[in-house]
């Protein structure tokens, strides 16, 4: 990453203004999104830089009236996926333990309450450690659905998959996240 494959052309004044505005308004959100996906600053910086270069190159394909953030999130998501494929082996559709079907109809034990013990200010550590253990897809879907508050439809467009896939990925990711958090809590 970092070095573009295609050479880029110098900006026209409008193009420069477009990039300027995009970085100004969405740079921080994009960087935070990249950071949540990668869980590390160096990768987040690279992802953000490359994403804005893509935006710069393809700026004419942006349709005013559509969400810029969804567009750049889609770019970041794709770049992240490519990057993980390149470092192959680390990219998995889901962790194996995540595949057990969940059955909760019938008798339900009263909910083990999760996370009330976590006090604000101390949650970064256990939560980021738990998030790290999710697969990239699971992290993406959780960040988009629960932090960024996108609808399943929007997430499907950003991640380039069906709504059904978003739904099942989110269910599994959250179930796994809860288990991981409980495990952290027990320590």
């Amino acid at each position: 990453m970092g070095v573009p494959r295609k050479p880029i052309e110098p900006p026209t004044p409008e193009q420069a203004a477009f990039l300027e505005r995009a970085i100004e308004q969405y740079g921080k959100a994009t960087y935070n999104f990249a950071y949540r996906l990668t869980q590390n600053e160096a990768d987040a910086r690279d992802l953000t830089q490359e994403a804005f270069i893509r935006v710069y190159r393809a700026w004419r394909s942006f349709q005013p009236g559509t969400s810029f953030l969804s567009w750049i999130y889609r770019i970041v998501t794709n770049l992240h996926r490519d990057e993980l494929r390149r470092k192959k082996g680390r990219y998995q559709e889901g962790l194996p333990e995540d595949n057990a079907p969940q059955e909760f109809s019938g008798q339900r034990p009263l909910a083990v309450t999760p996370i009330e013990d976590y006090v604000e200010g101390q949650l970064s550590e256990p939560l980021s450690r738990s998030l790290e253990q999710l697969s990239a897809d699971q992290r993406q879907v959780i960040v988009l659905a629960d932090i960024e508050e996108y609808s399943y439809q929007e997430i499907a467009e950003i991640m380039g998959c069906s709504i059904g896939t978003v739904r099942s990925r989110l269910h599994r990711a959250r179930a796994l996240l809860r288990r991981l958090l409980q495990r952290q809590q027990q320590k």
């Binding site: 110098p10 830089q49 969940q102 909760f104 909910a111 083990v112 309450t113 629960d146």
Partner: protein, 172 residues
């Protein structure tokens, strides 16, 4: 009584159930403490994630901004870079040599053998001169033209494969 699944609760929380399902989940939770507790547990995961995101929010590092702009600013126009490429000695010298050779063979060596060879000489000379001085004569379309071109146009000439007749040739 059947309890709600976590899938239902998660979809409910994200507002992703259809109105009937949504109403059914709502109604069930009115009367079922266990499911309400489970819903609270799901909700607290989301709240935890949001609190974490707020707490851990970062500013865009100025180095990233600078790196984007330096990459953009260092870009050079493709036309200019191609002109400079043609001016380079590694390209210019062979081109000049080719023109000189073409002129030599075209006029003095091939010349006495007849008119066509002179024409060939002129052609070579002209061709080289054209390539040397107007190197972009193939650059007919602007990027906009290229974007408007439909890829389908290029696929019109589909190869039509005639049906093959299989004749049983079972001569002994």
């Amino acid at each position: 009584m059947m309890h709600l699944t976590n899938e239902q609760l998660i979809d409910y929380m994200h507002g992703e159930l259809n109105p009937q399902q949504d109403a059914a989940v709502f109604e069930h939770m009115e009367s079922c403490e266990a499911c309400r507790a489970e819903y609270d547990a799901e909700l607290s995961v989301t709240e935890l994630l949001r609190a974490y995101a707020r707490e851990d929010e970062r500013e865009l590092p100025s180095t990233v901004k600078a790196a984007i702009w330096s990459q953009v600013r260092s870009a050079r126009p493709p036309v200019w870079s191609r002109i400079t490429e043609w001016i380079r000695p590694a390209v210019a010298v062979p081109v000049a040599a080719a023109i000189a050779l073409a002129a030599y063979f075209g006029t003095s060596y091939l010349g006495p053998q007849g008119v066509p060879s002179i024409e060939a000489g002129y052609y070579l000379q002209d061709h080289q001169a054209l390539n040397g001085t107007i190197p972009f004569n193939d650059h007919s379309g602007t990027p906009a033209d290229l974007m408007n071109a439909s890829p389908v146009d290029n696929q019109q000439a589909a190869v039509v494969v005639p049906p093959v007749e299989y004749t049983a040739d079972v001569s002994p």
